[in-house]
């Protein structure tokens, strides 16, 4: 008996319907959903870290205007629910942006569901990263900074070579928490029709009518995905350990 037949039998005989194993159509949807979740997670993580770094840099700068703007951004995105941000971008902002005209003469938005999901998730996690990096930067002793400057480093050089590496290491565990949260938040993209893991699972369970089985499969998949991520990051944290300090 092949694996496919075994799982068909499991459904026919015991009513345990794991259609993602025996049905090629459901399997493909599930795999695509998983890859989309990975894509959303990786791209949003990268962008949110860039946003966090730029924001933290601006907060430490001299321009009051830029400081105020950054604080405003952080407060707006930290204090509103991410689902509402996503729906706001997709349903309220998108229609007002210029679109492209397709072959059918329809005006189609330049940024689709996937694009908005990435933008929205990056901004949300980015706002939190600004705060994480800021607290990391503040934890670097001012004596260290002054020492670098007295050696002739410019502000940017001191930041790049002395302050940032220390601050990044200090921020790492808080950053990891936020990134784990970001992976989980990608499920919100379901609401705007982005075919990520939850969307694919919902499509499968509402057609194959196997809600309980898919719930378990989804739970296990996220558990493994996040366990994989934290496993890698634990190694990174160990590799970047700073002897003589607590971190």
């Amino acid at each position: 008996m092949t694996i496919v037949e075994a799982f068909k039998h499991l459904n026919d005989a015991y009513g345990i319907n794991l259609s993602i194993v025996y049905d090629p159509f459901d399997r493909e949807r599930f795999v695509h959903g998983f890859l989309m979740t990975l894509l959303l997670s990786i791209v949003s993580m990268a962008l949110s870290i860039v946003i966090g770094l730029v924001g933290a840099w601006l907060l430490g700068g001299r321009s009051r205007l830029l400081k105020g703007a950054t604080t405003g951004f952080v407060e707006a995105f930290r204090n509103t629910p991410p689902l509402i941000q996503l729906l706001f971008f997709f349903f309220a902002v998108s229609p007002f942006l210029p679109g492209a005209v397709n072959s059918a003469g329809q005006v189609t938005p330049l940024i689709g569901g996937v694009g908005w999901a990435i933008i929205s998730l990056s901004l949300y996690a980015g706002a939190l990263n600004v705060e994480i990096f800021r607290s990391g930067l503040e934890a670097v002793p001012s004596a260290t900074r002054e020492a670098a400057e007295s050696l002739g480093y410019t502000r940017l050089q001191a930041f790049r070579h002395v302050v940032f590496p220390l601050a990044f290491r200090i921020s790492l565990s808080a950053l990891n928490n936020n990134m784990v949260n970001l992976i989980k938040t990608t499920t919100l993209a379901y609401a705007i029709g982005v075919p990520e893991l939850l969307y694919a699972s919902a499509a499968i369970w509402s057609e194959s009518l196997n809600v309980r089985e898919m719930m378990l499969v989804m739970l296990a998949t996220y558990l493994l995905l996040i366990a994989g991520y934290t496993g890698i990051m634990n190694r990174v944290e160990r590799a970047l350990r700073m002897p003589g300090t607590d971190v």
């Binding site: 345990i16 159509f25 349903f91 998108s94 229609p95 679109g99 397709n102 059918a104 003469g105 329809q106 005006v107 189609t108 938005p109 689709g112 569901g113 609401a191 705007i192 029709g193 075919p195 969307y199 919902a202 499509a203 369970w205 509402s206 057609e207 194959s208 009518l209 809600v211 309980r212 089985e213 719930m215 378990l216």
Partner: protein
């Protein structure tokens, strides 16, 4: 040997899989004893189940649910459902029956009991802007098509015509996405599309239902599998037969301004002749 965590995980899995088959009581007796029946209806499917300006759920299917409650002499509780959750609501016992534009398909019959005779029928079509110039289902190949999660034909349209279905939780979201140009068409029941277009709402003036309706399926009242051959199922079956025989469904169709359905005429003739 399993770790402690592993044991708990296995227990959780077994427990979850074992749930959901616990409800076996006779629903008719339960409903009469409680003096209340809970019906799952749509609230985004004009004019079968929708919200009136005061926020009440009204429509043709709501009238049917009211009629059932009246015949039983019990109070009616309306629970709004969507395609993706209605069958779970029923099997979990949140509602006693589904009257929510649910097509009777062989896959669904494995999970819920379908009451015969079915009370309505619809087929699949698309709502599309006239400028899209759709003529055949194959025009959808490789195009993005909006849909609603849990509709049984999403999969068929995806497999047969290689359309790229982008499905949303509810009808309003999907329509909004269609208007925003996220997709070239909205695939749904032809009955809904027809009544949307015939309402003469200016926002749909440039839209049409350009294809030949496909895959007609009757709509049935859904009950728990244990009930379909029990007293509750028999009662509903007799009620539905009477609706057809007396022309009640045709009257309701007229009341709600729905384009007359050949299915109802055929069923009326069949049962009136008996």
């Amino acid at each position: 040997m399993l770790s402690r965590f592993g044991k708990w995980a296995v227990a959780l899995v077994v427990l979850t899989l074992a749930c959901g088959h616990a409800m076996a009581d006779d629903t008719l007796a339960k409903v009469k004893a409680a003096g209340k029946i809970a019906a799952g209806v749509k609230n985004d499917y004009r004019p079968w189940g929708f919200l009136d300006p005061s926020g009440q759920i009204v429509g043709m299917e709501v009238d049917l649910a009211k009629d059932i409650a009246k015949r039983l002499g019990v109070e009616l509780q309306l629970v709004p459902v969507v395609a993706a959750n209605r069958m779970e609501f029923l099997t979990q016992g949140n509602i006693d029956m589904i009257i929510a534009t649910m097509s009777d398909t062989p896959e669904r019959r494995k999970v819920v009991g379908m009451i015969e005779p079915q009370y309505y029928a619809s087929a699949t079509n698309v709502l599309a802007p006239k400028s899209a110039h759709l003529h055949a289902w194959t025009d959808l190949t490789g195009k993005k098509v909006c849909g609603v999660q849990g509709a049984f034909y999403n999969r068929g349209v995806e497999q047969k015509y290689q359309a790229d279905i982008v499905s949303f939780a509810g009808v309003p979201d999907a329509l909004k996405a269609l208007q925003a140009g996220t997709c070239i068409a909205f695939v749904y029941d032809d009955t809904f599309i027809q009544s949307t277009l015939s309402a003469k709402d200016p926002q749909w003036a440039d839209y049409e239902m350009p294809l030949k309706s496909e895959d007609p399926q009757p709509w049935a009242i859904g009950v728990r599998l244990d009930d379909v051959n029990g007293p509750f199922g028999q009662f509903l079956s007799k009620t539905s037969e009477e609706w057809h025989r007396t022309g009640y469904l045709i009257d309701l169709e007229k009341k709600w301004g729905i384009t007359p359905s050949p299915f109802l005429v055929e069923m009326h003739n069949k049962y009136a002749a008996k």
